[in-house]
Subunit: 225 residues, 8 copies
């Protein structure tokens, strides 16, 4: 590990070695950074020949980035800024991103957009919550065809348990803050998923579509080695 791989901007040390060390370039977490700071980090990454992915970005941050890097693109529902396209190669497995309800879409889209930025193929399966089970049962074949499943749900967060009972694939559960009252901003879905009776379900932080995308990417990369 060499410190040459770090670019110190004062307010941030940009990790230029992360792609080699962890398999993905550093991703910029938008909150708490001034628009100009996001732009400065983005430029440093581009100058080092890396792609840029900013999550939880605001429109104001996007404006600052695109002023410097005109090729930047914004995904508003996913709240992501991207600069540069990944090199795509034929892949054995795709990722299924299941979403329980319409209100969970921002989190599911964050996962999907991040995966696409990592060069993965994504299949979005929306609005298949357990209250109308036939919606999910009608898609079982499609769901079973993917290498990894990211299952995004708010409220009681029951979808991953049901999915895990139907497939042999790794299931990554993402609780969302969708709901009200005793949902406690996603706590209900989080606890539900942590206590899933479906074996092998692992869980990310509430609303952490990005983390689920990273985990899915790590899993698929393993199959490629």
């Amino acid at each position: 590990m060499s410190t040459d791989d770090v670019r110190d901007l004062g307010f941030a040390r940009v990790d230029l070695d992360r792609e080699r060390r962890c398999g993905r370039p550093e991703v910029v977490f938008g909150p708490g950074k001034l628009p100009g700071e996001v732009a400065e980090i983005s430029r440093a990454l581009v100058q080092a020949g890396q792609r840029v992915l900013v999550t939880r970005a605001t429109d104001e941050q996007y404006q600052a980035v695109v002023a410097e890097l005109p090729e930047a693109r914004f995904h508003p529902r996913a709240r992501c800024i991207r600069v540069g396209e990944p090199t795509l190669s034929p892949q054995k497995w795709s990722v299924g991103v299941l979403c329980a309800g319409t209100a969970d879409l921002p989190v599911a889209e964050e996962a999907a957009v991040c995966l696409e930025s990592f060069g993965r193929t994504v299949d979005r399966v929306n609005d298949v919550g357990v209250a109308g089970l036939h919606r999910l049962l009608g898609e079982v074949g499609r769901v079973r065809s993917h290498g990894v499943l990211i299952v995004v749900a708010g409220m009681e967060g029951a979808l991953p348990s049901v999915v895990a009972g139907l497939v042999q694939r790794p299931v990554i559960a993402v609780p969302t803050s969708v709901g009200y009252g005793a949902n406690f901003s996603g706590l209900a879905a989080l606890l539900g998923m942590l206590n899933s009776c479906g074996s092998g379900v692992t869980v990310t932080n509430i609303d952490n579509g990005f983390g689920a995308a990273c985990a899915a990417d790590d899993i698929l990369r393993l199959g490629e080695n």
Copy 2:
């Protein structure tokens, strides 16, 4: 409301008017009462011509009751003492008690035994948790045949959401304290059920099989009026 309907034993006021007022005789909650106190209340109820039902009873409490009232019976898994049999009349509807896992049985049995003590017909459908959905799907016809459904589950408590999407009947969800870690003694199942995306699900306290039985009894009584 007359105070003549109350028998004051010093440590407890036995409500002899509750059956007329609320449709069921007073039920004795075991915890915090000395065995002799449970026996004394039971005797007062029997003397007033009422049946006895003690919930959360210990074996020690049962020994004290049976010494006074030899016809008393103990249901160990349900932790209930009963004295006297209800008058049974032909009924339009039965109650389905669904239980997600073996460890949830004490709560499901408390609901079932209480309902039987109220003169209701019960169908026990055990071990149909959502992790193996075909177990539940194989029983859909049976589940739909009942007037009310009591759905007992621990861990993530997802079963009521799935059941509510399959039936037109009132669904009473009972979270249990079965689980560990981030289950927080039933909190996960409780929050899951309160946030159920299945419309019309109502919820009792954690492990409260008795309360679910009372609610089911109230609902069926309404249909009989």
Copy 3:
């Protein structure tokens, strides 16, 4: 279960079979949906010959719906959009909606408007919190005349316990987020109702007037079968 009964709009799968399967058409949960999406779902339901009910709706969502469906009506205190009137038939039982205080009215109104949309008769009994018990005691006859009672209360949520001791009917308790400080956004009322010493009380999520209406509707439908 056939997938023909689902209309896939991309961001949502509209469940056109729910009325047959669960006894009520699908209800649209407003939060997290763009105004145009609410309008599109509403149109799909109307095209399939179904009535529309949107809960937790904003005025902006209503404007989008009414632009497409001029017969849409908005209930501001209840925050509901309705399109279409239910077929009314003579009914044996009405629903009493009791409300502890003025600030709890939005939740009580959500319950009442949803019930009316399901074709039920509702009697609103407002401002009968336990701090002035004579207000409730003066209405006991009226309260006892209804088939089901929905009891809406914030702060300490004590009203359902008192009501349950006065009636033989199913009591559905709805905690509200009304209060401050150690109310913790409705947690106090929720816990109070879950721990109610009144037997047979069941509970919905905080502020979930819609869920209480569904449960009451399920109960009354049972009596009609």
Copy 4:
């Protein structure tokens, strides 16, 4: 304030000046003290001419005290040790200690025994929980006759709200840990009482009968000055 009024035993500083300063002698909190230490503190108080009151005492602690001070008495349900009798003088007001259920008796008895140790007259009104309101309504005259009301309740803790709406007297609410599940060891009752819609209700810690007795004693002393 002089340090002469403190007797330093190494593990404890016995406050011999508290009666003059705060109106009551120091009371010994039993938990965490070895039986011999409780005995040693008790002897120091007696040597200084003071009465002794130990709360939350174990039988083992009592045995150690009575071996030194044969006049010591133990109140098992209240878990209190007392040595010495208060000087009784005619009093204007008595204290009503209301108790919601049998399982709440240890806390109510702690309050009552402590008050008697302070020389107060106590009226115990047991098992008047709100689920059977007529039990309380039948005692309204008796309840209104007291100068201060200590209201002890577990589960949802609704009793103080109802009492406060019936009387003009100070109401001290004591939540107990009686209950299970979402009671969370008394949290439900505590939050219920803190959010009481009954104006003027103040609250002690869960199970703190001693604290309620002190507050009632302070209030009555004020009326005597």
Copy 5:
């Protein structure tokens, strides 16, 4: 208890009998009421010959009230509207309202203004938090001269414990939501006060200056009987 003493406005039942029953007229809790509703309740009270006190009032609510009742006065820091002056009679005891820090003033002022509206004499002792103990120790004589002490503090809420060790009077502790981080909106101060080692301290809800004023008023009224 007669229902003639209740004025039903549809959205609210105004309790015109409360002064006779509980010693104080009904007080209007502002949140959740439309400005016009606050004005209508206020007018009903004035028409019945009662004074008006609205707590947690907004300026908008005040404008609606003063348009109807020009004699209405607004106390902005206390957020109270008052109409009518209490009849003052010579009193034996005054109330000391102690306030730990400047940011706690709105709660302390709510207590003080409510007490003045009840006809009590108040002494405000501000900014005497325990971090600079000499500020409090310099006021001990003044603090001891009052009949009841209301002690308002946020952050760790330690002030009531210290005050209770210095006086023989009833101490009512009011936690405030002042603080940040692990204060959790007043939870830290609330728990601190509930666990006070100062005997006889009772506690109100977070920020509940009104409740403390009611409790103090009840206590002083007792001394006057």
Copy 6:
């Protein structure tokens, strides 16, 4: 999905189809089952030609199983009963199980024993908590050689964050209940891992070594397809 694959024992429905459907045979969760019930389920699995794995088993449950199935083996630190050996085939990847401290060993051993029961090769890397970072840094090469990493830690649960920054492999974080005080039975470690700044970390329930083993097994199976 056929119900022929379910063996109904009354108290449990044994899922004989799970290996085909989910890739692993059903695993028996010990808590809440009587020793005889565990033995009966085990015998049913063996009769169906399946291996047996019981987690969270007690010695009493083991005695009941071994009386029926003499080839049963008990792993006391892991609290697992196993019957039957997996068919081993050459594998591309092994699993590294990292354990922060000695007290975390029961959870790490549960993961390791379950993995071995699934036919996986495990490398145990014990006592590499972050307080002495050189212990971990000295094992980086070994850690990087595995296909999946299960990282078990209690207290603050920081180890997965550090590991994730050093490797390109999937990291499954398992919080344990090891610790005291503000650890809140594993909550601190759980929250720490959910908030890990190491990208791609996913999390299981507290103490859920079994769940981590299932997830690791799912991931490695994917690479074998």
Copy 7:
């Protein structure tokens, strides 16, 4: 302790003796104070020959102060107002302020600016979170050169544990509210730091950079005596 050292402004008592008693002048906590009140306190301190430091200040408060005291300076990221410069003397030790991520900078800057206002030398070491450990390991020499280390981190708050394993110096951990979801506004970082396996780590409130600065100042002052 003399009350002459307190300047009573009505809404606040300014402690003019604190520097002598505690080693630092009183610092003004901005929230909850009107701009004019902050200005009035500042002027009182300046009139008494003291420096001024206001924390959590708003721009509006700064405008009020600078209108009275033109030499006032505002530090926007740290949200601090300062008036007057400390007397600097040669010092043996400096303070290292380590910051895990860019979003934690406001808290780290509050600590740094407060320390500079106390006359301490500060070295800012930014963006050295544990996800990229080599960033910290590249600065070990610099980190070890300081007398005290303030370590500021949000999310899982793992940095202090790692730092404490590398140095012999006092480590003060400051959790921040940076993060989302199961971070619960800094609770995750707070619990992580309280449970640190690094011996000797002590912790301040969430976001309390000021408190950490005071603690560091107290420690360095000790070395100067």
Copy 8:
């Protein structure tokens, strides 16, 4: 950092380099270790010429250690095992360990015994809780004479705030789990101390006397460099 300094016992890696790196030898945390494991680690440390300190030790663990190392000593109230004496040198500063109540003594003793094992001089100031402030005020001179203050308190945990207002020294606050009800096993004291209005107070985990001793040792070592 060399791995030669680690002795790998399989279940534990004994850090033989910690004294050089962190200023103190590794301390053994007893819970979760078998008695034989504690003995084996102790022997490894003695063989490497280091002293032994085991915290949270049981009598059973002590018996295993003393069987191997006859010079081992047990401190039952502090629950510590020590082997070997520190080299004492004249020191500028001692540590004051203040303890609020008798029940807090185990935690205070853990801090004191650990400090003595590190070669520090300790002054125990017991039973000086804030409810009887004159007990503390009578010891102010003694309290001010120490270089660092460790302040141990349960219940509301107010003592550190008061102490911090009286001294210029670093104050380390240690919350204990002493209390009941809304104390929530030390949470009340922990939150109270984290929110202390006394500037410069830092906090350890609940009951963590050992951590406070380490922090005090680090601070005094700094003054010696």
